[in-house]
Amino acid sequence: MTDPKDFIAGTDSNARKSPTRVVFVTRRTSAQVKVTDEDQLQTYPEVLFRAAVAIEVLGIVLVLISLLFNAPLEGLADPSHTPNPAKAPWYFLGLQEMLHYFPPVVAGVLIPTLVVIALVVIPYFNINVEAEGLFLKDRARRLRIFYAVAIGLSVFLLFFDVYVALVPTLVVAAVMLVAANSSPESSSAFRRYLASKPLSYWIMTWFLVVLFVLTAVGTFFRGPGWSWVWPWRS
């Protein structure tokens, strides 16, 4: 008589890797599951329902705002009468603030182009993908580079009197120094958090803080002739 089968067979397919996979599991071994599937929700209806609720809440908030506040409408456009100051929409006021310090080629063309390029290339650099804490490896050399860049940038901003960008730059640099003097073994959770942050985190955070400050200054602190005004003393 023939021997009893001493294996079991199964098939599976993963179209991306191989069309069909056949497994043979012998009696003395057992199939092992290495990866467990995560708990998942059905898109229909669960996730779509949540998205709909989120959008509805947003809609209600916007309707309330629209009932309470009217959109601005000034007098008919008049090319012969320039308002002072003439301001761009709020999301461009960071740019307009830069125009106050630098010639239009730099503030209006070069800087925005560089920002867009910098954003686009983020995912294409392995250093951003691995995202290791900036000062965890090769600390001495990286600290030297950091000092050179931070001091160079600060002197540059000082030279052009761009205090509105200088102050946030110094604040971020100070936090980076704390990060450089922290490690994964630090006793405070905040310092462990800082120590784990990679280069891209610091650049993006610096960009976010500067953008926020410039936009706020352009919106609230600039009056006739782009002079400094205090919004509460108008």
Partner: protein, 263 residues
């Protein structure tokens, strides 16, 4: 037993007409629910399942969803506004006044469009930073990040071109300030400026160009890229669910080990 709304809906989904329209069919089995997504030309942009922890508020803060929500509101209110608006000088401004004082709910319509536009610009920035800080730009999602940047620029241009349409002082001078920047581009500056405005100054031609961009070209571009953006999320394996910074976990573990050692 009294019928619930759900029962009526199920009955409706079973009718011949409904089933001729929606290919998914009836029933609430996992298969049927998957088909409801897969067999629908719009919904099939999305995956049929989403990891539970990516649906929670903390994962994305729903910022992408909300950005899309503002876009929907803007399309609806924008089409209604187009019914009352002439892109000509000075009629455009008179139409604004009509919307405010003559058209019923016109003021509300304009307010909703305006505030939603501001909200969209804000949300698209917020969404970008959120995606960045949770590390979701990592491969294979690089190109969806790039599509995101395109959407960011389209959103800014949409908002900017819309800013001119009321043809009031605010609009005129904001666009004058902005378009002058284009002149600063080396070599082609003045040509770009002229092309943008259809003249050397912000005038009736500029209004018409901005109107076409704002109501046709840019919204269609946005719709196209939003569709690709959503489809890529599915193709790239769903929302990014890894620890955003690989080192954070290690750092935390080391930290708690150190804390234990100190005790």
């Amino acid at each position: 037993m009294a019928k619930t709304i759900g029962n009526y809906f199920d009955e409706l989904r079973g009718t011949r007409v409904w089933r001729s329209v929606f290919r998914g069919g009836t029933g609430s089995s996992t298969l049927r629910r998957s088909l409801a997504i897969q067999q629908n030309v719009f919904l099939h942009l999305f995956s049929t399942k989403v990891r539970r922890r990516m649906v929670g508020l903390s994962a994305t803060w729903y910022l992408g969803t909300l950005t899309f929500g503002t876009f929907l509101i803007l399309v609806v209110t924008g089409i209604l506004l187009m019914l009352y608006y002439h892109p000509s000088v000075p009629q455009a401004y008179a139409d604004m006044k009509d919307l405010q004082f003559v058209v019923s709910s016109g003021l509300f319509l304009r307010n909703l469009h305006r505030w939603s536009a501001h909200a969209m610009v804000f949300l698209v920035f917020a969404h970008m930073f959120k995606v960045f800080y949770r590390g979701a730009y990592r491969p294979p999602r690089e190109f969806n990040w790039v599509i995101g940047i395109i959407l960011l620029l389209v959103t800014l241009f949409l908002s900017y071109t819309g800013y001119l349409l009321p043809w009031d002082q605010l609009a005129f001078w904001a666009i004058t300030v902005g378009s002058n920047i284009a002149s600063a581009v080396p070599l082609f500056g003045n040509k770009i400026h002229f092309l943008m405005l259809g003249g050397n100054l912000v005038n009736a031609n500029a209004l018409l160009r901005f109107y076409v961009l704002h109501c046709m070209i840019l919204p269609l571009t946005a719709i196209l890229f939003i569709a690709i953006h959503f489809w890529r999320i599915r193709k790239d394996g769903g929302l990014y669910a890894q620890q955003s910074e690989p080192k954070t976990l290690a750092a935390r573990a080391a930290g708690s080990a150190a804390a234990k050692g100190a005790q």
